[in-house]
């Protein structure tokens, strides 16, 4: 790894001062994506600014059905949080399926959304939950935030501070992990609120996570679940690579969608 200077941030003033003073600064949260890319020489920042000690970044608050998760909350803390499990167990379950325990103990939700890996798990859930991404300067609807593969609406050095959403009546995440990497080959997040369904799919497309309107309509109108087998994805850029053909991935989505639907209809 190329040498750099490390700064532990304790306040927003310290953050702004550090940005002012550093050449090519980059935020570090859990470091589970950033440190491996720095080892590979893909990025070589002059300074790392550790955001995990900034006020409020590690808190989860649940008031009624409204949820706020600080950007530096780890996947393990999300999986184990009792208040969150009480209102949105599907998100906790999703977090418990990320990587392995050691990765979950360090990796954070803010780092994951800022990175927007097409194989990452949270994006499927966040688009279904209609989440808002709070930054140091504004609030962005998640559908505007997630732009494409490894691309977000963040400006340079804009800091994700929290993710907020309202818990649905019921939800379910079904994932098929890549056997080696553990990232989603496909992951389907399904939620229902007031008999209306929303569906988000991750892992399967170079455009990143996307909503599936046909699946939402099928479930909301009460069509037989067998109809899920007829879902088509022709207008989407579904991956077709050595890990799985396009037809294989499309089928995976249908299978996972059906599993999630069975859970919600039960």
């Amino acid at each position: 790894m190329e040498p750099f200077s490390f700064h532990r941030l304790g306040s927003q003033q310290a953050r702004l001062a550090a940005l002012e003073a550093c050449d090519d600064a980059r935020y570090i949260s859990g470091g589970m994506t950033l440190l491996p890319s720095m080892k590979l020489g893909l990025v070589a920042p002059s300074d790392l600014l550790d955001v995990t000690g900034l006020p409020g970044m590690r808190d989860i608050t649940v008031e009624g059905r409204s949820v706020r998760v600080g950007a530096a909350v780890t996947h393990a803390a999300i999986a184990d949080n009792a208040a969150l499990n009480a209102v949105c167990p599907a998100l906790c379950d999703l977090a418990s399926q990320i990587g392995d325990r050691h990765v979950r103990n360090r990796g954070t939700i803010g780092g994951a959304v800022a990175n927007n890996d097409p194989g990452a798990d949270y994006p499927a859930a966040l688009i279904v939950l209609d989440a808002r991404i709070e930054t140091d300067i504004r609030t962005i609807a998640v559908e505007d935030f997630l732009v494409g593969m490894f691309e977000t609406a963040l400006h340079q050095h804009e800091l994700v501070t929290a993710i907020t959403f309202d818990a649905p009546d019921i939800a379910r995440y079904e994932k098929f992990p890549h056997p080696a990497s553990g990232y989603a080959m496909a992951g389907v997040f399904l939620a229902r609120s007031n008999s209306h369904y929303r569906a988000g799919i991750t892992g399967a497309s170079g455009e990143g996570a996307f909503r599936c309107g046909d699946l939402e309509r099928l479930l909301t109108t009460g069509a037989p679940l067998a109809d899920i087998a007829e879902l088509r994805f022709d207008d989407l850029d579904i991956f077709d690579d050595r890990h799985g053909s396009r037809a294989y991935r499309e089928n995976l989505i249908r299978v996972l969608a059906r599993r999630a639907a069975v859970h919600l209809k039960a």
């Binding site: 490390f6 589970m32 080892k39 392995d100 050691h102």
Partner: protein, 162 residues
């Protein structure tokens, strides 16, 4: 360079480190704690797992400076006496290692798992919990047997102590 202060296996340590130094290299090279291994250096294998403030981490994917103010537990500290920790003993009893390269990471992972789940652990839970630890020679059956056995024995010992 940064000056860091941390507790390692119960002892206070204060050192200067390069900001880009990995925790695993600090433990092995600066402190001589070579029980923690580097298998892949790419966050995959778990040979480098140590516990930081009670949470298991891959020390090849954490900076030494990120451990400032923390309490770190490595394989060297799991037993404070001359005898083995119950999990180490169970690994020996069940033939849960061959070359031993993965063992330190597995023992740290197993102790954490048993502390969180106790003797209620199921075979399936143990298998899932080992997802981040690769063993290339023993096979996992004996490792799982050892962990389940250690969980039971530690529970019996805890009850006897009450």
């Amino acid at each position: 360079m940064s000056s860091i202060e941390l507790r390692i296996n119960g002892k206070d340590v204060r050192r200067s480190v390069e900001d880009h130094q990995l925790l695993v290299s600090f433990l092995r090279e600066d402190l001589g704690l070579t029980g923690t291994h580097v298998g892949c250096d790419t966050s995959q294998c778990g040979a480098c797992v140590v516990s930081v403030d009670g949470a298991t981490v891959k020390s090849c994917t954490m900076l030494a400076v990120q451990a400032h103010g923390c309490s770190v537990a490595t394989i060297e500290g799991v037993s404070q006496t001359t005898s083995l920790h119950a999990v180490q003993e169970a690994f020996q009893r069940h033939h849960a290692l061959q070359c031993g390269y993965c063992t330190a990471g597995l023992v740290i992972t197993a102790i954490d798992l048993i502390e969180r789940e106790g003797s209620q652990l199921t075979r399936d839970q143990v298998a899932h919990a080992l997802k981040g630890n690769l063993c290339r020679c023993t096979g996992y059956q004996n490792i799982i047997n050892a962990i389940l056995d250690a969980a039971k024995r530690l529970d019996v010992a805890a009850q006897a102590a009450e």
